[in-house]
């Protein structure tokens, strides 16, 4: 059972620049849709507050930079790594390691097995006969809609 996920890429820039592009320009490359932020229709950009204890923000108001907090920064170690804790207590670590001709960027999200706690636990312990009521509820809702 995999309870963490790690993915990585090598990009053709040094760690310093890679770190800056990743953090300072996150709003330019990060995919914003219903599965990556809470309310993508309000999102105008994303930003990191570049310090431990800072916020990873889903920005709704570009003049103030305020919006919704997506995570709280636990490690801020340019140009080597950052780590933040997301709203569901998953740790997300991003590391930048120099390799020949570039930088290996690795994103690891840990704690998936415990998330969301109640749902994951029920799935783990009981499986389909607990999930079934969800289906039943969904069926009922669909029936009511038609």
């Amino acid at each position: 059972m995999t309870e963490s996920v790690a993915v990585s890429r090598v990009v053709p820039t040094d760690p310093e620049r890679t770190f800056r592009l990743f953090t300072e320009e996150v709003g330019a490359w990060y995919r914003i849709d219903e599965s990556t932020v809470m309310d993508h229709e309000q999102t105008v950009t994303l930003r990191f507050e570049p310090r431990v204890g800072g916020r990873f923000m889903d920005v709704y108001d570009s003049s103030t930079g305020e919006g919704r907090e997506l995570g709280r920064i636990q490690l801020w170690e340019p140009p080597h790594r950052i780590q933040f804790l997301d709203a569901h207590d998953c740790e997300v670590e991003v590391s930048f390691v120099a390799v020949p001709h570039g930088t290996r960027v690795t994103i690891e999200q840990r704690g998936l097995g415990g998330l969301p706690d109640d749902v994951a636990e029920r799935v783990r312990q009981w499986g389909w006969h607990i999930i079934t009521p969800w289906f039943a509820e969904y069926v009922t809702q669909r029936d009511e809609e038609t």
């Binding site: 620049r17 990060y30 994103i107 389909w128 079934t132 289906f135």
Partner: protein, 125 residues
Amino acid sequence: LTISTVRLIINAIVDQLDTTIAALADPTRRRTIDVLGRGRARASDLALAAGTSRAAMSRHLRVLRGSGLVDVEVSTTDGREHVYRLRDDRLAALQNWIDQVRASWEDQLDRFEAHVERRRGDEPR
């Protein structure tokens, strides 16, 4: 950079729902799933528990097997008797969700890589 895990869970469940919605739209089949949740059972026992005929239960079980919710095996004590059980999907929903998290991060790194390429000429290394 964070993933909306609630959204992903919902997406995972809805994906699963789309493939099983027909199977579970029927109250007899939902009751059958409940019974199988307590352990494997023969078709005749399931018919009894659901208060339906064996022929009707046979049709319901065919639908449930088609949905992937239920497996069948041939009883070792009686080669002609089929024994039904819930498929071992206890972790499937969670795994499905984790797979989505992975796919989402892969996509984000693809996008970051493309962004690095776009910005490559803008600043000397």
